[in-house]
Amino acid sequence: MSTPTRLVASSTVPPPRPLAAGQPTPRRRTPRRNGRGAIVKNLVALAVAVVAVFPILYVISASLHPHGTLVGSNSLFSQVDLANYIRLFNSPTQPYGAWFVNSLYIGIVSSAGTVLLGALAAYAFSRMRFTGRRVGLVSILLVQMFPQLLGVVAIFLMLMTLGDVFPAIGLDTHAGLILIYLGGAMGVNTYLIYGFFNTVPASIDEAAKLDGASHARIFFTIILPLSAPILAVVALLSFIGTSSEFVIASVVLTDPPKQTLAVGLFQFVSQETSANWSVFAAGAVLAAVPVVALFFALQKYIVGGLTAGAVK
């Protein structure tokens, strides 16, 4: 698998790229060369979307069925009723509304922190040369590969001790959980951002430097805006990762009003006596809404990309 990489590396590493992105390109858009090809592509895309969506349709159908179950109710949308959604918000012991808000809060704060920490580190790795750089790059990735079988025991003890001294970040606090999540901010995310930074021509910062801009100014006002696509991707990945994280959250947050959606929802199905699939399904459907909304909001940054916004 390394062969093609190397092969191209030599053929495309080419000359420092001329700052030509701003010039009008000769062909703005590929003309529709092949009508049949386009139809096939459309069909393939549609087929993948159908496969992606059908289990979810199933969940939505169950959530709309007053006595719906996830198993054995195979006629989709045989009944449509919003009762389960209403029930979600009417259980004092299972405060779905609070879970929703908690998940949003934890997801947003963690993903903002992850983007910031990751981008800072990526800037250093991408633009500066220092001893230990390569080792550092590899180590941040290797650290994430430790099997977390016992992670929760360590995290639990750590937060318990911390909580004695600083109650604000102890067990059962959102701040404590967010700090734990930020511990993983470096790693794959840094790598993603690092890879993207590398594609931003160094000549841009050289020019800015000649104009007397400080490194911080270059980072915040030039590199970051140019990297919007990857920052949006990292924000989304980290939002999804933290708002649906279950293992750590279930150990750290035990007081029901403080829990997150993933932890709270699990109760709907884990308690045999009150296993309620249809309400659970409704809860899961709503839980996916922020993610979808966030993706909608970020999509234009993700795909609007460098070519459009690059060097104005």
């Binding site: 495309t12 590493v13 496969v51 195979n74 890879g195 007397g212 991707v233 839980a287 993610v291």
Partner: protein, 530 residues
């Protein structure tokens, strides 16, 4: 780690006029000031809790951080410190802690200190004397010494204390129920007073006679006492428990429990360090050696195929949906990432329902009532797991690839197209290699993630279907990490964190060796664009 860079970085900087903006400086000072204020507060709190060690670490780190930001040098460190601080505090700690646990016998039966274990053993060894009644009592005090004023069921009143057997007394004040509630020369404790002294009262043992076999009175609530006889005698100087019935002596032989000559342990034990024992066990444990090769093989297949399939589908989709000839691209993009928007444990639950052989949607509706044993046939279960993992995992690759594709300058592609390269060639020669620059590290870490993807396996099949003819409870879909879980947590008498940690470390070494090797092979770290 910082100086060489500063030197290099400094070279062009000579020409740069110093135009550090005042606003930037103020902002930096404000942030650093807030941090230091927090640190000071933390130091005070740590000092109040006498956590000197933590306080020292905090102080040293704070000084270092201030040094980094106040100095004009150490430029990379300025950018690396924030993320690294979190990484060290919250991730490295977990690893180091697991490392430490691997050298202990921590696990069920060995969770506390030796003192706790002794206290529990003493309490457990007490046997309530058969047919013995409950005695009404109050706790009385004289000169700071506590005693039990006991009224037996026949109405006789007596007084006794630790090491002072019960002696009948006369002249006690008796209440309406015939219970003695006070005695001349003694003060009866009120409930709040008893609460204040409850540790002492709860462990008091008042013999009923000089003969120990007659038992001793103890109370748990200060108003009723029960008669107990000990079955084990603890000798604090010899540090042994002796079974009073059989004469067996249980001694601390350095294994974290009191053990008899014949190896019989009494529980609970306590936590001690055990050197490399857990590692020795990890390599010699029979229950893991038998199925090990098969499990390792499947683990590699599972992780490899999962990464390859999600990468392939994700990248293909990203390219497809980057193609302007596709209609409704925005909507389709949202639809294809939907599997990622649901909490993964929910998806696994849904899939295990969909794949139910008799009632699942796949068999019943899509396959018209076929009974394909998706999760119960050893081979099909593997296929199903891979399929579900593809469904769960490709949106990640899709998202990353979509983002990374934007970094590929369109003019590279267009230049190639103008040279007459077809779409396949431009993809293989230009887009894929450039994509790999960003994605290769992710592919490697995705491999590592799947290598340890405990949750998916456990939620879908719990490692099953199980072959009951084997000695071990190993199933067809067990990967290394689930096998470790079963061995360290599921077998025998409970969870063995020490053994699990040792396994974690071994797996970590294995997987990071693979990853480090792959990094070198893919040369992902080469800066293609520079």
């Amino acid at each position: 780690m910082t100086t060489p860079l500063a030197a290099r970085e400094g070279a062009p900087a000579e020409r740069v006029p110093r135009v550090r903006s005042l606003r930037g400086l103020l902002l930096k000072m404000a942030l650093l000031g807030m941090l230091d204020a927090l640190v000071l507060y933390a130091l005070l709190a740590l000092a109040a809790h006498e956590q000197w060690w933590l306080a020292g670490v905090t102080a040293v780190s704070a000084v270092a951080v201030n040094g980094v930001y106040l100095s004009r040098r150490a430029l990379p460190a300025k950018y690396l410190v924030p993320g690294t601080a979190f990484l060290v505090a919250f991730q490295l700690f977990v690893i180091l802690y697991s490392g430490y646990i691997a050298f202990t016998n921590y696990g069920d039966g060995h969770v506390g200190t030796k003192d706790d274990a002794v206290a529990v053993l003493i309490s457990k060894s007490l046997e309530r004397l058969p047919e013995s009644p409950a005695y009404d009592m109050v706790v009385v005090e004289r000169d700071g010494d506590l005693a039990f004023l006991v009224t037996d069921p026949d109405g006789r009143v007596s007084l006794g204390a630790e090491e002072l057997p019960l002696e009948p007394v006369t002249g006690a004040q008796i209440d309406d129920d015939g219970v003695a509630v006070g005695l001349e020369g003694y003060r009866t404790l009120s409930f709040p007073e008893m609460i204040a002294d409850q540790r002492r009262i709860g462990t008091m043992s008042v013999p009923v006679s000089d003969n120990l076999e007659d038992g001793a009175l103890r109370t748990q609530d200060g108003s009723l006492a029960y008669l107990y006889a000990a079955t084990l005698d603890y000798d604090p100087t010899a540090d042994t428990f002796t079974d009073l019935e059989t004469g067996t002596v249980y001694a601390d032989r350095g294994t974290g429990a009191f053990v008899a000559d014949d190896g019989l342990e009494i529980t609970p034990g306590w936590k001690i360090t055990v050197g490399f024992d857990n590692f020795t066990r990890a390599f010699t444990e029979d229950s893991i050696r038998g199925p090990l090769l098969g499990v390792i093989g499947w683990t590699f297949v599972f992780a490899g195929v999962s990464v390859a399939s999600t990468f392939f589908v994700g990248v293909l989709l990203a390219l497809l949906l980057d193609d302007p000839s596709i209609r409704m691209r925005r909507t389709l993009r949202v639809l294809v990432i939907l599997p990622y928007a649901f909490p993964p444990f929910l998806s696994a639950l849904v899939w295990s329902g969909l794949l139910n052989p008799e009632f699942g949607f796949i068999n019943q509706t899509l396959l018209g009532g076929a009974e394909v044993p998706w999760l119960t046939d050893p081979l099909l279960a593997k296929v199903s797991i891979l399929a579900v993992n593809l469904w769960l995992g490709y949106p990640y690759m899709f998202l990353v690839a979509t983002g990374a594709l934007q970094s590929i300058p369109r003019d590279y592609v267009e230049a190639a197209e103008m040279d007459g390269a077809g779409p396949a060639t431009t993809f293989l020669r230009i887009r894929l290699p450039l994509l790999m620059v960003t994605m290769a590290p992710l592919v490697i870490s995705s491999f590592a993630f799947n290598f340890n993807n405990f949750n998916l396996i456990y939620m879908l099949t719990e490692g099953g279907p199980q072959d009951i003819s084997t000695e071990m409870n190993v199933g067809a879909t067990d990967i290394l990490i689930t096998l470790v879980y079963k061995v360290a947590f599921g077998e025998g008498s409970g969870r063995d964190y020490g053994l699990a940690s040792a396994f974690s470390i071994i797996i970590f070494i294995l997987i990071s060796a693979i990853a480090a090797y792959s990094f070198r092979r893919t040369r992902a770290l080469e800066d293609v664009h520079r």
